[in-house]
Amino acid sequence: MSDTMEEGYITEDGRKIGGTLMEMKNITLRFGGVKAITDISFDIKEGEIRAIIGPNGAGKSSMLNVISGFYVPQEGEVWYKGAKRPPMKPYQVAQQGIARTFQNIALFEGMSVLDNVMTGRLNYMKTNMFQQAIWKGKAEKEEVENREFVEKVIDFLEIQSIRKTPVARLPYGLKKRVELARALAAAPHLLLLDEPMAGMNVEEKEDMSRFILDVNDEFGTTIALIEHDMGVVMDLSDRVVVMDYGKKIGDGTPDEVRNNQDVIDAYLGVSHD
């Protein structure tokens, strides 16, 4: 097996990318007779923005679910921080410093933005139910600390004005931002974004792109994202994995991928002559 802590690289805009954070080795995922992912290998390096793209049904979301530990592949290994990861429950994965957002927004609609984002701090809350019922003392101190962190996230994503607004009342673009806030509240090492721009207008996409870049820049968070808006992906990411029908058909910098014949065929179709 290859060394899991390979050398990093320098990006075009001069950022230093570290060694391998996560490595997928020969992953195959089946649902009954359907092969969603076939023998895919790639790595995610420390500090980079890594995109997984592909046409509809290519297996992108399945791949993200494998990374997040929600699906356990039948074949292959997931290596994280230099160690092989055993099958885990999603909360255990979260404890390892991986946070995610969802394609179809999974927020608590009846709760305020603040409360929703606070749930992202769950892994940092150590007091038990009784201590929280009594509230004074330990539980209070803990909440103050976590609230402080959450407020920084709220400030970072510029959602101060909706702090106390119930999520159900927010427009779609803002809900997406709240989801990102909740994921950031967990102070993740690796952030997984499932179609962060889906259903957004141009302006909202620009805002979201800027936030993704800022998160990476300010906190050094490694980001893996799925997106089918090619333009956005190419501008945003350092390296791109391209999938089609569950197979990996390309892997490299946006420029390399753009000029890859298989990728062009997958996106534009091949003439059958």
Binding site: R147, E151, E158, Q160, S161
Partner: protein
């Protein structure tokens, strides 16, 4: 010198006032800002420490006496400290409008030759970097918010906190120099330079001395009995003279606390939390607020709605009189008290006006109904009249003499006169020193003995001594038949309808008047929602036949009202159209303070004006628009030109005689 320092106890500059406040009321709050969801506050002593560290930091990077330091950002304590720190080292702060595009900033930065810029965040830094090649004197930029700034080339860039740290570290060597420069500040030193928004032509740099600012702050604070325990919310652009006087001049003179909102979007919530005692807002803000209240009441349950209207009717009857201390019967007073408990109190609380003791509005005429609405709730809303060149105050309404149609009596220390053309002139301790690098304009505006022409036409009422403003003097023209043409007079009447956001009247030198109208999207949109009228854009709603009908009714009502004024009855609107886009500062159609640039609108839409006068019933037009980021695009529309009924003037006169 000795004489003048006696008159103001040696307090001849803002830094001197800071020193007094930091000594005499060291532990009272000077600044508050909501940050990370919590109100952070700084006492006068802490503020002085912050300002001194920054001032020494400025010395450290080589700020000379007489340098201009541009300050670009929204209202934050740090930005106010920047201004006072600049003054402390003998430099001149030049606050700029933070929403100005890069090219607009380029003119101002080049004109004042700013060597230093203090910018709030990446957005502002980017704008300055974009234009810095054309700025020959520009040397260093200091930014406040480090977010996104790590990758920038830091040879000319400095972080605000680092500058302060350096200033603190070098305090032993730099303090003597700071003291030396600060002690040289007198009444004659320049306090601040503010660029006028420039309704016509390029912006002009108005130089205000310490005398202008401190005398005005002192007089106006005494006029309204402002004290050290006032609370204000600083939310209006820092580049505007009003904010400088309220948040710096008066705040330092009285020693009251300046509160800065968390962000522009959280303003209403922050206003409610602070509950200012002294509040200023342009008429537009009051208008929008009233519109929102009315819209929300329409959506409220029947009981609440009934109660609201019942008690508001009562407030309209007696509220103003109670506020002015006039005689009101006991029954009415009791009912008003009940209304205060049930309606007025909670409403004021929602609006953030529970504690307002002195409220001002200015800049434009305010609708009499809007004005009396707030006053009837028991909010002491008054009007003032002023301009940058006067350090704001020319006239203001004293408590108990407040009316919608005047702008008050001359402020303390101000002399007024009206010339033969009806133009208002004033002379006061607040009269500006000169326009920077523009002697010609200075001479054209200010006479040798200190009189300044306001550019506004008006008259003093005989019995009350109150000033009434009719219009901009240069906008007042003559119709073809020689009768007076005062567009603002008619436009204001139109704008008093909640459905009308903006109106522009044409007719100078012509036989009839025509008008452009902008609908108010909030008000009309809500009406459309309640009447099941679907629309997808501003343009579509603006062209809806039912909307046009409603606007037509408004126009005809205005015509009837205009016809009653003998002098201006010729200004009735014969035809009008509802514009397909909102007039916007980004397109140059308005100033940044949202005043219509009449000439530009006239040139830009000349095809539409011609269409109105030619009697066409509809017209197709394409208009160029500029987006916020500077990109250009165009929108085209098919507009319906409407006729409006006018009251025949001559026959009305005959009937009256």
């Amino acid at each position: 010198m000795a004489q003048s320092s006696q008159a103001t106890d040696g307090l001849q500059s803002i830094p001197a006032l800071l020193h007094r406040n930091a000594t005499e009321m060291a532990d009272s709050p000077a600044y508050r800002e909501k940050q990370f969801g919590i109100w952070q506050s700084w006492t006068w002593r802490q503020s002085q420490r912050e300002i001194n560290n920054l001032a020494r930091g400025l010395l450290n990077i080589g700020v000379n006496e007489g340098d201009f330091i541009a300050i670009i950002g929204r209202n934050r304590p740090y930005m106010y400290w920047s201004m006072v720190a600049a003054q402390s080292v003998g430099a001149i702060p030049v606050p700029l409008y933070q929403d100005a595009a890069a090219e607009e900033m380029a003119y101002v930065l080049d004109h004042c030759g700013a060597r230093f810029v203090i910018a709030e965040d990446q957005e502002q830094v980017d704008k300055v970097i974009e234009i810095q090649d054309d700025l020959h004197q520009f040397e260093h930029m200091i930014y406040l918010d480090p977010r996104g700034m790590r990758k920038y080339d830091h040879t000319q860039l400095h972080e605000f906190s680092h500058i302060q740290e350096q200033g603190h570290a070098a305090r032993d060597e730099l303090t003597p120099e700071l003291e030396r420069r600060r002690s040289k500040l007198t009444y004659d030193s320049t306090c601040v330079m503010l660029y006028t928004s420039g309704t016509t032509g390029k912006p002009k740099g108005v130089v205000l001395s310490n005398r202008n600012v401190i005398e005005t702050a002192k007089n106006s604070s005494e006029f309204d009995k402002l004290r050290a325990n006032e609370e204000i919310l600083a939310y209006l652009p820092m580049a505007w003279v009003g904010d400088f006087i309220f948040s710096v001049g008066q705040a330092y003179w009285c020693g009251f606390c300046v509160n800065c909102p968390e962000s522009a979007e959280t303003l209403t919530a922050d206003l409610r939390e602070i509950g200012p005692t002294y509040y200023f807002a342009p008429p537009r803000v009051f208008e929008t607020q009233l519109t929102n209240v009315m819209i929300r009441m329409e959506d409220a349950g029947p009981l609440k709605r009934k109660m609201f209207h019942h008690f508001m009717d009562h407030a309209k009857k007696v509220g103003g009189d109670i506020l002015d201390g006039n005689k009101v019967g006991l029954g009415d007073r009791l009912k008003y008290a009940l209304g205060d408990l049930l309606i007025y109190g909670p409403l004021k609380n929602t609006l953030g006006f529970s504690r307002v003791r002195v409220g001002y509005t200015a800049g434009e005429a305010i609708g009499p109904e809007i004005f009396s609405f707030y006053r009837s709730l028991g909010i002491n809303l008054k009007q003032l009249y002023g301009q940058t060149e006067a350090t704001v105050f020319i006239t203001a309404q004293p408590d108990g003499q407040v009316r919608a149609d005047t702008v008050g009596v001359p402020s303390p220390g101000v002399e007024l006169k009206i010339d033969d053309n009806g133009e208002v002139h004033y002379r006061s301790p607040g009269v500006f020193e000169y326009y920077y690098k523009n002697e010609e304009s200075t001479k054209g505006t200010k006479t040798d003995d200190g009189w300044v022409a306001t550019g506004d036409a008006g008259f003093l009422e005989k019995d009350s001594g109150h000033l009434r403003i009719i219009d901009r003097a240069k906008d007042v023209g003559k119709m073809a038949d020689g009768s007076m043409f005062a567009p603002k007079f008619v436009e204001n009447k139109l704008k008093f309808f909640p459905n009308v956001l903006e109106a522009v009247l044409f007719g100078n030198g012509r036989d009839r008047c025509m008008a452009f109208i902008n609908i108010d999207l909030t008000a009309v949109g809500n009406w459309a929602e309640r009447n099941n009228i679907a629309y997808s854009s501003y343009q579509e709603l603006a062209g809806h036949p039912k909307v046009l009908e409603t606007i037509k009714e408004h126009v005809e009502e205005v015509n009837r009202s205009v016809a009653e004024d003998e002098m201006l009855s010729g200004c009735q609107i014969h035809r009008f159209l509802v514009l397909h886009k909102e007039l916007d500062a980004d397109d140059g159609e308005m100033t940044r303070t949202r005043k219509v640039r009449r000439r530009i609108v006239e040139e830009k839409f000349d095809d539409l004006i011609a269409g109105l006068y030619d009697g066409k019933s509809d017209i197709h037009t394409t208009t160029e628009v500029t987006y916020e980021d500077g990109r250009k695009g165009s929108i085209s529309a098919h507009l319906t030109l409407m006729d409006a009924a006018v009251v025949p003037v001559s026959s009305a006169k005959v009937a009256a005689e």
